[in-house]
């Protein structure tokens, strides 16, 4: 599985990638982006099957990035990984087309549970 990790914090991208690699999922390639705008550029040339994205980012935040993806007809699996969430955020994420929302810090187990049935 090819994954794109989007977060304005390099440290958090490292944490997400570390957790990804500790799961039993077959991760073949991981690329990174530092905000939504950067991620759109990467996705234009990267056949990622899964996007993991922070919510709050400068330049273009996660929800706007997801909406831009869907507006472009890009229906790749998308999940938020964020430090906080409430019912409103989860609904907004769901309405925009996200498949899941995980709170930081997340574990290999919670990630596998969220993603396992979505991608091979």
């Amino acid at each position: 599985m090819k994954v794109l990790v989007v977060d304005d914090s390099k440290a958090m991208r490292m944490i997400v990638i570390r957790t990804l690699k500790s799961t039993e999922l077959t991760i073949t390639e991981i690329k990174e982006a530092e905000d939504g705008a950067d991620a759109l550029s990467v996705l234009a040339e990267y056949d990622a099957e899964l996007v993991l994205c922070d919510w709050n980012m400068p330049n273009m935040n996660g929800i706007d990035f997801l909406k831009a993806m869907r507006a472009n007809g890009d229906n790749r699996t998308f999940g938020f990984v964020t430090s906080e969430s409430d019912a409103g955020m989860r609904q907004e994420a769901n309405d925009a087309g996200a498949s899941f929302l995980l709170n930081k810090p997340f574990t290999a187990e919670s990630f596998t549970e969220a993603v396992g049935t979505l991608v091979s």
Binding site: S9, K10, A11, M12, M14, I15, R18, T19, S83, E84, D86, A87, N103, K104, P105, F106, T107
Partner: protein, 161 residues
Amino acid sequence: MPSLPPYRDMPGIIPVRGMLSDLLGREVSVRDALHLDLDRDDLFSAILPDDEDNLSALFVCDLPFVCNTGGALSIVPAATVAESIEAGEPSELLAENYYEVANIMTGLLNGPDWTHIRITEVVPGVPDEARALADVAIGKTTVEVTIPGYGDGTMTMFAEP
């Protein structure tokens, strides 16, 4: 008579341990500790206002807490972390990493019944506005943590409803 918001439940050692262990990828030990003396010269404050920018909560921690949690977050060599502690200030990387640690720890003080708080900055010392909050805060708890491979650190958490 207007109703008051419910007081924010302060986290105990179990949720703090769980959060830090998951975040840092190692089993952290946490225990109750004496509150930090805010006159110390090796403290750092994470400023936590509500969505209207009213200061509502505060994390005050010592230099070892900043450096050891920051170091563990991205697996900085322990010797490098020790150098920062010895030098009396965190490196830029450790400071950035600690900001992320504190950012995630705000989750311990957020909940559906409480005013939402967020982190805006981490500053050295305890600024006057932060000191004013600390003096009257109803919610107050202090933890000492031990991070395997790095060392100990202490944090005092203050919160208003």
